[in-house]
């Protein structure tokens, strides 16, 4: 059972940071609704935990997009030397080489690489407002509604990036680099 360094980093970006961020949204939306809209009274400790949770989500979103743009994306868009026939090590070129897969790059990657950044920007604003306003947030209707909308915007942006990321890696996996041997497998047949 082996994988390459590029596999591992891509998995960490998508299935580690990205998937964890998507999972975290349910807690964030429920928490924001409970404390800011439904008006449930939270203890200071619970509120502090919610602040840490939202800051961690914003940090996770930043780590996800930075890892995607500066670690995985350069491998994805690497150019093959002239005359290369086997494009499996060049995901972008592999997708663009056939009309049946070019849309995954032209629409999927082109949209994902930009819209993904909406998530850290909006989540940073959500965390800031939640901390800045504290228990007063429930009284500022316009602000609290906007905070919910920002959290939902971040979720949609993350989901779009996540879905296209998964599909892109299915049709043209980002592979390469050193091989990491996880365990030796049995020989069959």
């Amino acid at each position: 059972m082996e994988l390459t360094v590029h596999d591992a980093v891509t998995m960490l970006h998508g299935m580690g940071f990205g998937a964890l961020l998507l999972l975290a949204f349910s807690g964030a939306v429920a928490g924001l609704y409970s404390t800011s809209i439904a008006g449930h009274v939270w203890s200071d400790r619970e509120r502090r935990l919610a602040c840490v949770y939202l800051v961690a989500m914003a940090a996770l979103a930043w780590v996800t997009v930075l890892a995607g743009a500066y670690l995985v994306y350069p491998w994805y868009r690497a150019l093959p030397p002239p005359g290369t026939v086997d494009l499996s090590a060049y995901p972008q070129r592999l997708l663009m080489s056939q009309t049946s897969t070019s849309g995954w790059h032209d629409i999927g990657m082109e949209w994902k690489e930009h819209i993904a950044w909406f998530s850290p920007i909006t989540l940073t604003a959500v965390a800031y407002i939640f901390i800045r306003y504290g228990t007063h947030l429930t009284k500022f209707r316009g602000v609290r509604n906007a905070v919910m909308a920002l959290a939902i915007t971040a979720f949609v942006a993350t989901a779009v990036a996540g879905v296209f990321g998964a599909m892109l890696n299915k049709f043209a996996p980002v592979r390469g680099g050193q091989t990491i041997v996880i365990m030796k497998g049995e020989k069959h047949g």
Binding site: V65, A69, Y70, Y73, P74, R77, D106, I107, E110, W111, E113, H114, I115, W117, F118, I121, T122, T124, A125, Y128, I129, R132, Y133, H136, K139, F140, R141, G142, V143, N145, A146, V147, A149, L150, T153
Partner: protein
């Protein structure tokens, strides 16, 4: 329920954060379109070669977002602003940002 004016804090800082986030996302969409439409601009946005123009698009958008946030926060720190106007502007900027990053819409604007 109207925004409470008797509270020790105003809605200004929250409004600044909301509008700046929307402005930053719109700027990102605008820069993405500009980089796609103009080769010289794409070259100028190529801040870090391995990532290509995306590096400049996101770096500049983040700078615009932060500058907007600092500027609006200074303006509105102690003020109560109309949240309906701020939220409407934010919605328009977000929708614009989403459309500008959506490749078929980008192509439509460029007549491709």
């Amino acid at each position: 329920m109207a925004d409470a004016e008797d509270l020790p804090i105003t809605n200004g800082p929250g409004a600044a954060a909301i509008l700046a986030a929307a402005g930053g996302c719109f700027a990102l969409g605008l820069l993405a379109l500009a980089g796609d439409a103009s080769a010289p601009l794409a070259q100028a946005l190529n801040v870090w070669k391995p990532t290509g123009p995306l590096s400049g698009v996101t770096d500049v958008a983040i700078l615009i977002w932060l500058a907007l946030w600092v500027g609006l926060n200074r303006l509105w720190r102690r003020r109560t602003v109309s949240m309906s106007r701020v939220n409407l502007a934010a919605i328009l900027l977000f929708v614009g940002g989403v459309l500008l990053t959506f490749p078929p819409f980008m192509d439509l604007l460029q007549g491709k």
